[in-house]
């Protein structure tokens, strides 16, 4: 089933063109890997897909209006003055809670779960942000550079998890500089 289709998307900032005439679509259970050099507008494209940013030209069509999307951007929406547990509790209802705890354990954050998040390392905060995204059981996840700052083991874990989710008919759109180990469509942005 088609979830999102984009036709001839262009975006320009301060009258300068970033990318133009991109067309793609995303189906259920499909991964879309967005590739491109620094400053080519990968993050902006993700934000356009999410509807946060409006494209200068073209249109994004959502086939299902209330599609549950979860998003991890450059800003990870983590409050540094709360503990990891409190951070997750701000967002989750009861159903997501168990899953979040499981992931805290899996990613080795169990022993720091009551410390202040601001004291954790960059990688640990990134893991926390990933837990927030993954454990809320959405229909589609949008990740901006999810592999940056992760150790080798977590990298593998994440790759496997994403692959597994794809098989469970979740759609994943992500940008990365590292080629993912699982199979997905590739969209290359050129300037």
């Amino acid at each position: 089933m088609q979830l999102i289709s984009a036709q001839n998307i262009s975006y320009s900032i301060n009258e300068k063109k970033l990318f133009h005439n991109l067309s793609f679509n995303v189906n259920t259970g499909e991964g879309l890997y967005i590739k491109g050099s620094n400053g080519s507008g990968k993050s902006t494209l993700l934000r356009i897909i999410l509807g946060i940013t409006l494209p200068s030209k073209g249109k994004i069509h959502f086939c299902n209006e209330d599609l549950a999307i979860s998003y991890l951007g450059h800003k990870n929406a983590i409050k540094s003055y709360l503990s990891p547990i409190q951070n997750l509790e701000l967002i989750f209802n009861q159903s997501g809670r168990a899953l979040a705890f499981e992931w805290l354990h899996k990613l080795g954050l169990k022993n720091v779960q009551d410390e202040l998040t601001g004291n954790l390392s960059f990688g640990q905060q990134k893991k926390l942000a990933l837990i927030r995204v993954l454990a809320s059981s959405p229909k589609m996840i949008v990740l901006d550079e999810p592999f940056v700052g992760l150790d080798y083991a977590t990298n593998n874990l994440l790759n496997n998890f994403l692959e597994e989710k794809l098989r469970e008919d979740m759609s994943i759109i992500f940008t990365s500089h590292i080629q993912p180990t699982f199979e997905c469509k590739t969209l290359e942005i050129e300037r």
Binding site: N14, E15, K16
Partner: protein
Amino acid sequence: MYPYLLFIGITTLMIGWIWGVLYAPEDFQQGNSYRIIFLHVPASIFAQTIYYFMSICALMHIVWRVKLAAYLIKSAAPIGAMITFIALFSGSIWGIPTWGTWWQWDARITSTLILFIMYLGILTLHGSFSNLEKADRLMSILVIVGVVNLPIIKKSVDWWSTLHQPASISTSGSSIDPSMLMPLLISIVGLGFTLISLGILSSRLYILNREKNKKWVLEHV
């Protein structure tokens, strides 16, 4: 178009001012110092008119996303600040011989000062963003909120005891002699044309600045 407007403006303005300063009779109360009126009143009128013009543009920009409207706001704001400054400055100089003080916390002076600060605030706000489209939209929001506030500020400051003379010209009839009114009206028209031509000039500058990467600009230049 702008050279003609400028010519009309300056000619009319000169006629108005020379008539006002040299030929109009002396005021029996204020003596010759009242001749500042031919500068002060037009400047004060346009200080507000430009803000209202900007707010119409802001509405157009917010509702219909007309890009040109934002450019017009941005190029009108410095002119508004300039003319508001002139109005304040001429008013306070006029105050020295008439009231014996160059500044009073009087209703209209204070609200003009606030207007001046609002112009500067708009310019500062626009200047502090690197993404110019964002800057345009935030500026439009500020202009609209400001125009709602403008009459409120005026009315509320009116509650203070006012030293300022009541407006010389109003729709219900003027308290001013025709020999003084005529040059005043002429200088209002003249200053209007001059400011419009300055506005054309400054919006041309701004549009060139913003769209310098576009094809039509290259062809135009």
